[in-house]
């Protein structure tokens, strides 16, 4: 009975399915429309999609049945994953059956009887790379693994050929019996192999290696064929949680012909918990909403499939749009199905804007006045006031002194002061950012003058200048390409040498007064690190620099800051964005590449365009950001898509200044005028346990990652117990002592210290708790205030910006 009853709906469903199929013949689609297998180890990935009612194509490849028609003995085979491979030459038809429907795809096999000899660089190396043999954690390590070393990512085919064929006393290759080659015995784990089984005997890489050895294990007579462009199909995808989808990767040859390299390519996701991909290119969506970029790599070429996994929130009301930042962010959040946070109140906005823009806590007086202000335009006026404050220039100079490595130990005091002064005045005068960058890159003259010459002065080699400038101003981390082709970018060692050549004419001279000066000398081209041949100086992706060799840095700077430059403005706005939101639209902030896409491309583009059109006006950009409703979101809901404000630790200097301001007792810096604030220190070596423990950078790198952004137990202990901070709390000239002497009531005192520390009034509960501590009499009042201040300084609300 039970069986019969349950069979009814099933039969009904089958009938319905049948109707659907017969009703519309185009319900399944097969890609590619024709299959061309050329060469014994070639493969073609077939993908079968079924169109659903919502118009989305669902991947049914692994549910489909395949058979070959047209010849007595099949000329090709196709496995259950849809991977077609050749058997013998000829033509036939592959019939794809799925859900009662059939589709037919022609297949042609060639190049099997007399195959083109295997290319070592073009086929063997990519196969070993895909199998993981030459990865940086294995034989690709600088010292190799158990005596066998391959170049990482196969960047050095000649060395790899030597390693495989000649080194190890030649025992890695058995010409007489290719299958007995140690290379294959190890790779298949037929003999003990620390890395386990990397290649199966029934796979195309195995057949490829066997054939290569049988053909004599030769290196290539000619240069390997030119690196093709890579195309991933689809380039973008919206998915549902748990969805799987087979990707297809094709190499487009210089002559326009295409070859399926899906099974040869390597795949990586930048956010596997949103969507990952296995080694066959099967995309697998997770459950976390957001966007992932799945990178496909083959022979130095890369391409990306961007996978969007929307959240469940849809149809939420769009918050107001104050400028295009809001429009583009709400668009993005709608796409992603992520609900934006509510709006921050005046107090949260004021504290946040001051700290992010000028590294300074607003005073209690400022906070009180702003909160009482009834002007609807008061937030805009506040932004203008902050940007016009001297603290803005101080703070920006400090942040850029980090990046430009204003290090007293490297520059000496004279040089560090000079560079800090130049930075300070550049930001005070709102120097256009393109001019700023040009002056840094083409600096010359004395390091002791007010100039940015110190930056280049401490970089000792053209290569170091090149990769620092590139990371700093272009967001292009080309450092990888010093030793090997960049694993996730188009940059190779030639690009690295070409960029280094832009900075060869950098001379240094000791002046009569003992200071050093930067000179421009005739620039020279740099040799390719591997081939030793000179590479023409050229910025990444730019034209060769062919002007006056004495002005090569100027020529580079002109290319860098030109409106057409694809990196410069984006890298700049991304940095500014990161200062306001805790992370860049592209994260890390100085690593812009297609394989590390931004959280919002349109927004990044639009910000860069606006920035260029404004004449690279940093203050205008800051104001634009501050005025957006996105920046004015309520705290606590931070996320990778900027749906709300994130918590960020205050930088060491900012926190120290905040402690000083809240306690009313400035820090005493050795040798500097009383009241000097930490954000104004030019001397990064100024002894200060506080700054050290809260992560002041030593300015050893141009990476903004150097500034410590993680909390530690020592920090917590210091805020709780440091005698220095306790002395500030107890100081006769401090906030507690001063307020105790006023006629303010306990409730008013609570208000006052909340405004001073957190720029807001306390809640009723907080007011009661603080007021309860403030007793009668001078001493009791002072002690109560000291203890209340101590507690507030130790809250996460105080230590963070939010």
């Amino acid at each position: 009975m039970t069986n019969q009853r349950s069979r009814m709906p099933l039969l009904l469903a089958m009938a319905l399915a049948h109707l659907l199929v017969t009703g519309a013949r185009a319900e399944i689609a097969v890609f590619p429309s024709a299959i061309d297998l050329n060469g014994p180890e070639s493969t073609v990935q077939v993908v079968v999609l079924r169109k659903g009612k919502d118009g989305r194509g669902a991947d049914v490849t692994r549910a489909a049945r395949f058979r070959i028609e047209g010849t007595a003995a099949p000329i090709a085979r196709i496995d259950s994953t849809g991977l077609a491979s050749p058997v013998s030459e000829g033509t036939a038809t592959i019939v794809v059956g799925e859900g009662g429907e059939e589709a037919r795809v022609p297949v042609r096999v060639s190049g099997v009887v007399k195959p083109v000899p295997v290319s070592f660089a073009g086929q063997v190396i990519p196969a070993l790379s895909k199998a993981g043999c030459s990865s940086g954690g294995c034989h690709g390590k600088a010292e190799g693994q158990n005596g066998f070393k391959l170049s990482v990512f196969g960047f050095d085919p000649a060395a790899d050929h030597r390693a495989i064929v000649a080194e190890g006393r030649g025992r890695r290759i058995s010409h007489g019996d290719p299958r007995a080659s140690l290379l294959l015995l190890k790779a298949t784990a037929a003999v003990a192999h620390g890395g386990g089984r990397k290649i199966r005997e029934d796979s195309w890489p195995y057949r490829l290696l066997v054939r290569w050895i049988a053909e004599g294990a030769r290196t290539d007579s000619a240069e390997p064929f030119e690196t093709a462009r890579l195309v991933v199909d689809p380039p973008g995808l919206r998915v549902v949680p748990g969805e799987k989808r087979q990707l297809r990767v094709e190499a487009v040859m210089p002559d326009g012909s295409r070859r399926c390299v899906t099974s040869e390519a390597e795949f990586e996701s930048n956010a596997p918990n949103i969507a990952g991909a296995d080694s066959r290119g099967l995309m697998m969506a997770g459950s976390l909403p957001g966007e992932a970029a799945i990178l496909a790599r083959h022979m130095g070429a890369v391409a990306v499939c961007r996978v969007t996994l929307p959240g469940k929130e849809s149809g939420f009301p769009r918050p107001p749009e104050r400028n295009f930042i809001d429009t583009l962010t709400w668009n993005r959040l709608e796409e992603l199905g992520i609900r934006p946070a509510g709006e921050a109140d005046d107090a949260a906005f004021m504290r946040r804007a001051w700290l992010d823009t000028a590294g300074t806590l607003p005073s209690a007086r400022e906070a009180r006045a702003f909160l009482a202000d009834k002007d609807p335009a008061k937030r805009a006026r506040l932004a203008d006031r902050i940007l016009a404050s001297p603290e803005y220039a101080d703070y920006q100079a400090m942040l850029w002194a980090d990046l430009l490595r204003v290090d007293r130990d490297a520059l000496k005091a004279q040089g560090a002061v000079a560079m800090w002064r130049w930075l300070r005045s550049a930001f005070a005068a709102n120097m256009p950012y393109d001019r700023f960058a040009r002056e840094v890159v083409s600096a010359r003259g004395s390091v002791a003058g007010d100039s940015p010459a110190g930056f280049l002065r401490v970089l000792d080699k053209p290569e170091v200048v090149a990769r620092s400038v590139s990371q700093l101003f272009l967001g292009v981390r080309i450092e990888c390409a010093q030793c090997h082709h960049h694993p996730s970018e188009k940059w190779g060692q030639d690009d690295y040498a070409a960029l280094a050549g832009c900075f060869t004419g950098l001379g240094r001279k000791v002046m009569p007064d003992g200071s050093e000066a930067l000179l421009s000398e005739a620039a020279k081209d740099i040799n390719h690190p591997r081939t030793g041949k000179p590479v023409k100086a050229r910025p990444p992706g730019g034209p060769p620099l062919e002007g006056d060799p004495l002005l090569r840095r100027e020529e580079f700077a002109a290319w860098m800051t030109a409106p057409a430059n694809p990196f410069f403005a984006k890298a700049a706005v991304n940095r500014v964005w990161a200062r306001y939101f805790g992370r860049g639209l592209v994260d890390p902030v100085d690593d812009l590449r297609t394989t590390n896409p931004s959280a919002n491309d349109e927004l990044l583009e639009a910000l860069a365009r606006r920035f260029r059109e404004s004449g690279h006006d940093l203050k205008a950009l800051a104001k634009l950001v501050m005025m957006s409703r996105v920046y004015q979101s309520a705290p606590g809901a931070g996320g990778a898509n900027f749906e709300g404000a994130a918590h960020r630790l205050l930088p060491a200097e900012v926190l120290l200044d905040a402690v000083c301001q809240a306690t009313g007792v400035p820090e005493d810096f050795n040798g500097l005028p009383a009241g000097t604030r930490a954000i104004r220190l030019w001397d990064n070596r100024m002894p200060s346990y506080f700054l050290q423990v809260f992560g002041r950078p030593v300015r050893a790198t141009v990476c903004s990652c150097e500034r410590g952004d993680a909390p530690s137990i020592s920090q917590a202990l210091h805020l709780m117990n440091a005698p220095e901070i306790n002395a500030k709390l107890r100081s006769a000239g401090g906030t507690a002592a001063r307020l105790a002497k006023t006629g303010l009531s306990p409730d008013e005192l609570a208000d006052e210290i909340y405004l001073a520390c957190l720029s807001r009034f306390p809640t009723e509960e907080e007011r009661r708790a603080v007021a309860g501590l403030v007793g009668e009499g001078a001493t009791a009042r002072r002690e109560g205030l000291e203890d209340a201040l101590w507690a507030i300084l130790n809250t996460r609300e105080f230590i963070c910006n939010h």
Partner: protein, 445 residues
């Protein structure tokens, strides 16, 4: 490797903060670290770790081990120097006359005479010893050349891999740690807990560990009570969660008598303190023992002034050698007496040895090609000499041991897989130790 489980090269390494967020809730990040990728499936040995903790006595500047542990009495005067070898408790093993305390307990430790590497600089050599990575900067100028990748020290690696096992932080460094002992790109969470004062000072106190002494207990309590009232509960995720767990851990450290006592040297008998030597190295070594007792995993002790280029012998025989001899011998004996030696690895070394030939200023210069390293406990069979140097102590003649080998051996003893791969900020996969092999001769009894 399955996709979806871990970070891979070429992709963006999760930021530290995000890593913390992934690291779960309610636990101190150092106890709940997200697993990074393991490219090699098998662990290095699979053997039970022998050492639970390591005390690393670092003789900064380069100890003259030719005058201490590897004397050359047959060599000409300008090489053998003024000191005579003396017999030890191990028949056949001789050490320098100024190391007589250690000589008496030579059956409790092993001398590795063939440590050798080729970085002859202080900052670069120290970086090499502490991180296992060659310095990407010139000696003495570690801030000149920008590098994106500053590597974590052995203590930070151990903090990250093993976490704490008690109320004290997993990695403590004292009294004045070198940059090389820092966390590198691991960030502040694996930075050493630094004791900013020297335990040899009479007023020694660990910075920030005790609340303001002049504050009455009632006020301390009400401060904490108020903080509890005005601060919301620790949220489940994000930076505030991490921050909150650190604040709690700090409060525990301050309020837990066990943790506070671990740092309190005054609880030691005067005779014990005297035995270690009333010197910086001696008192740091004693404090190190207390911290290990309380669960600390790695204690680094920096002891300076070993860079003896000029008129070296007076300072060697009056200060440096006796201080090291007392501290090391007292520490090893004390650990043995307390039954802790088998689980505590003690290593004493510097970044280099000194030149065999005495220079014109009656000193010895940098010589990284040979250095004797002392190892005790933690699974090192004692009472042996491993490796040898030539007639002039210029080069090893057997069993040369490089820095990677030594670090690999330490990690092996502590049960850390030195082949574990993590990503640098550039997204480069780097194993904890690159190259080298476990020094089997040190482990074989």
């Amino acid at each position: 490797m399955e996709p979806g489980d871990i970070a891979r090269p070429g992709m963006v390494a999760p930021s530290r903060r995000r890593m913390l967020r992934l690291g779960g809730t309610g636990l101190i990040p150092w106890l709940s670290l997200p697993g990074l990728m393991r490219m090699r499936a098998e662990a290095s040995t699979g053997a039970e770790p022998k050492a639970k903790s390591c005390i690393f006595l670092y003789l900064q500047g380069g100890p003259s081990t030719i005058d201490m542990w590897d004397l050359k009495p047959e060599a000409p005067a300008e090489i053998r120097g003024p000191y005579k070898p003396i017999a030890t408790s191990v028949p056949g093993t001789m050490v320098g006359e100024h190391c007589h305390r250690s000589a008496r307990i030579a059956d409790k430790f092993t001398i590795l005479r063939s440590h050798s590497h080729n970085d002859n600089g202080h900052t670069t050599g120290s970086h090499y010893v502490w991180t296992g990575q060659r310095a990407a900067f010139a000696d003495g100028a570690n801030s000149r050349v920008p590098v994106n990748e500053v590597y974590p020290s052995i203590g930070s690696v151990i903090s990250r891999e093993l976490g704490g096992r008690g109320g004290v932080p997993p990695y403590v460094n004292m009294p004045h740690p070198l940059t090389a002992g820092g966390p590198g790109f691991y960030g502040a969470e694996h930075a050493p807990f630094v004791i900013e004062s020297d335990p040899v000072q009479p007023d020694f106190e660990v910075k920030d560990l005790k609340p303001d002494g002049s504050l009455p207990e009632s006020r301390r309590r009400r401060r904490l009570e108020l903080l509890g009232k005005i601060q919301p509960a620790i949220p489940l995720a994000g930076l505030p969660a991490t921050l909150g767990t650190y604040q709690e851990k700090a409060r525990e450290l301050v309020s837990s008598p066990a943790a506070r006592q671990a740092f309190d040297l005054s609880r030691e008998k005067d005779s014990t303190r005297d035995a270690y030597g009333r010197t910086s190295l001696g008192q740091c070594s004693l404090l190190a023992r207390r911290l290990v007792e309380a669960g600390c995993r790695f204690v680094g002790v920096d002891h300076g002034s070993w860079d003896t280029h000029f008129t070296c012998f007076p300072s060697l025989e009056k200060d440096l050698m006796p201080h090291a001899d007392m501290a090391f011998s007292a520490l090893v004996s004390d650990l043995a007496d307390r039954g802790m030696l088998s689980e505590t690895l003690v290593v004493m070394m510097g970044e280099m040895g000194r030149t065999p030939r005495i220079n014109k200023q009656a000193g010895r210069d940098h010589w990284s090609m040979t250095q004797s390293v002392l190892l005790a406990g933690g699974g090192i069979p004692p009472g042996r000499v491993v490796g040898a140097t030539d007639k002039t102590c210029s080069y090893p003649t057997s069993d040369p041991v490089g820095i990677s080998d030594l670090l690999r051996t330490i990690f092996h003893l502590m049960g850390v897989d030195a082949d574990k791969v993590y990503l640098t900020p550039l997204g480069r996969p780097v194993s904890i130790v690159s190259g080298g092999r476990v020094v089997e001769k040190l482990l074989a009894g």
